[in-house]
């Protein structure tokens, strides 16, 4: 499925849109990390929690739990919150 990558993470993917697979958001992030080593740790911490200020959207709806189920054809978007200075 299509995954849209925010700017700060494109040093890993080089592209704004990439493909990854997984039946849950957690599995998808693991797949992304296999393809782009190190990416997962920048958005998910060592306790498998979503890092503060990172947002995950599936088909335009924000999800807050990495166990959220995914289906083929879903579109996942990783967004960083607009904050900071």
């Amino acid at each position: 499925m299509k995954v849209i990558i925010p700017g700060p993470l494109r040093s890993y993917t080089r592209e704004r849109e990439v493909e990854a697979a997984g039946d849950t958001l957690a599995a998808l992030l693991a797949d992304l990390d296999r393809r782009y080593p190190g990416l997962r740790f920048r958005v998910i911490d060592e306790q498998d929690g979503m890092r503060p200020h990172m947002r995950f959207f599936v088909n335009g709806a924000q999800v807050f739990d990495a166990s959220h189920a995914l289906r083929p054809g879903d579109e996942v978007q990783i967004v960083q919150a607009l904050s900071g200075g």
């Binding site: 993470l9 920048r42 060592e46 990172m54």
Partner: protein, 401 residues
């Protein structure tokens, strides 16, 4: 992740208007490593330390807490970084910053069992190269408090459970409510140059601690240290060392800038002596950094800050100055020639003052207002090297090979 710095970012600076010839990277000379809230810079000095070439920014937009050159090879750099919203990591370069690689496994606490609340590294705060005999070994201190070790040059990091998971130490470390507003820090990781197993470290809200077995076991080293009025000095959690440095010429002597004064300890004694009481009363002995002379264990420098009332942490009276002792803390002399005399409300963070190993010793500091200053004569006279940098978190020096 590999990042290649564009050659267009290379700029030359000169203190006297002369053009600098392009010098090969790492071709010898004093190197200043500047870590800021928005990136990192390398400043390479000429042999006279009068002309400085700026190389940067590296990691523009990233929060870089510490940038350190490995003295064992003179060309490996490690940078502790966090990109705002993204998680923390460590970057490594073996070609003097031309290319960087991210750590495969940055410092991170172990995953806890289901139902247990685990800790998360917010950022790596401090980097220390290991002993000269342990090539590739590094130590990292994190926020919240955590101690990590790498044995492969910073590519992967393992937690040191002897500290991180010791129940007594977990109690002393406290939680988020116990730390500084931007998080508690594990800092001042020191490796005894005589013995790789002999380590010291400091914990903001947690005291100074020592290990003699490579970090497996630790013991507090806080006797003689004072704590904030009204608190119990017997409670290790109330101790707040800001910066601890070991004297290279006499590794049994350490100086400490604490939240509550300037101290010196001479091992094997376990008691710190508050040598800062000899500082002028109108200046006080509160500050963040302390820097020691590379060859004279009686000489150390501090950068006082205002610790009165609400703790502005700015230069006392708006008049920045360093102070030096050349007799182990018995007497102190003010060093402010060249520095602004008023309305300069500077803060110099605990990692943002450093000395080189030249003769006379060069001193360097960076302010949170983005100014970089140096003295080529041990503080007798200061000159500005750079302005308009982002908030400076750390300044280190090295000898570029």
């Amino acid at each position: 992740m590999v990042q290649t710095r564009k050659s267009a970012q290379r700029t030359a600076t000169s203190r006297n208007g002369k053009n600098l010839r392009n010098r090969s990277r790492g071709g010898g000379g004093v190197l200043m490593l500047v870590a800021t809230r928005k990136g990192a810079w390398l400043y390479l000095g000429d042999p006279a330390r009068k002309l400085w070439r700026a190389d940067g920014p590296h990691f523009l937009g990233h929060i870089v807490n510490h940038l350190v050159l490995d003295p064992r090879d003179g060309r490996t750099l490690l940078a502790a970084a966090k990109t705002g919203h993204l998680g923390p990591t460590v970057f490594r370069s073996t070609d003097f910053g031309r290319n960087w690689k991210e750590a495969k496994r940055p410092p991170a606490f172990p995953k806890t069992r289901e139902g247990e609340k685990g800790r998360v590294v917010d950022h790596t705060f401090w980097l220390t190269p290991g002993h000269a005999s342990e090539t590739g070994t590094w130590y990292a201190g994190t926020s919240p408090h955590g101690l990590f070790r790498s044995e492969d040059g910073g590519a992967s990091w393992e937690p040191l459970a002897g500290l991180n998971d010791n129940p007594q130490y977990r109690d002393w470390m406290g939680g988020p409510q116990d730390g500084t507003p931007d998080g508690p820090k594990l800092h001042s990781i020191i490796v005894d140059p005589r013995n790789p197993a002999h380590l010291y470290l400091g914990m903001s809200s947690g005291g100074v601690h020592e290990s003699t077995d490579g970090g497996r076991n630790w013991a507090p080293l806080v006797d003689g240290l004072e704590v904030v009025e009204g608190l119990d000095a017997a409670n290790i959690a109330f101790h707040d060392p800001h910066c601890v440095q070991l004297c290279p010429s006499n590794p049994d002597r350490l100086f400490q800038q604490n939240h509550c004064g300037i101290y010196r300890i001479d091992r094997p004694s376990r008691t710190w002596v508050r040598v800062g009481r000899k500082m002028p009363k109108q200046v006080g002995d509160i500050g963040f950094p302390v820097t020691v002379h590379p060859r004279d264990a009686d000489t150390a420098w501090v950068f006082p800050m205002d610790g009165t009332r609400v703790w502005p942490r700015t230069s006392p009276g708006g008049a920045p100055c360093a102070y030096v002792t050349r007799d182990g803390g018995k007497t102190w002399q003010r060093l402010d020639s060249g520095l602004p005399k008023n309305q300069a409300w500077w803060t110099v963070k605990r990692q943002a003052m450093a000395a080189d190993a030249r003769d006379p010793v060069g001193l360097y500091f960076g302010t949170t207002s983005g100014e970089l200053w140096m003295s080529g004569n041990e503080g007798k006279r200061w000159d500005a090297i750079a302005q308009h940098l982002p908030e400076i978190y750390a300044v280190e020096t090295g000898e570029a090979h």
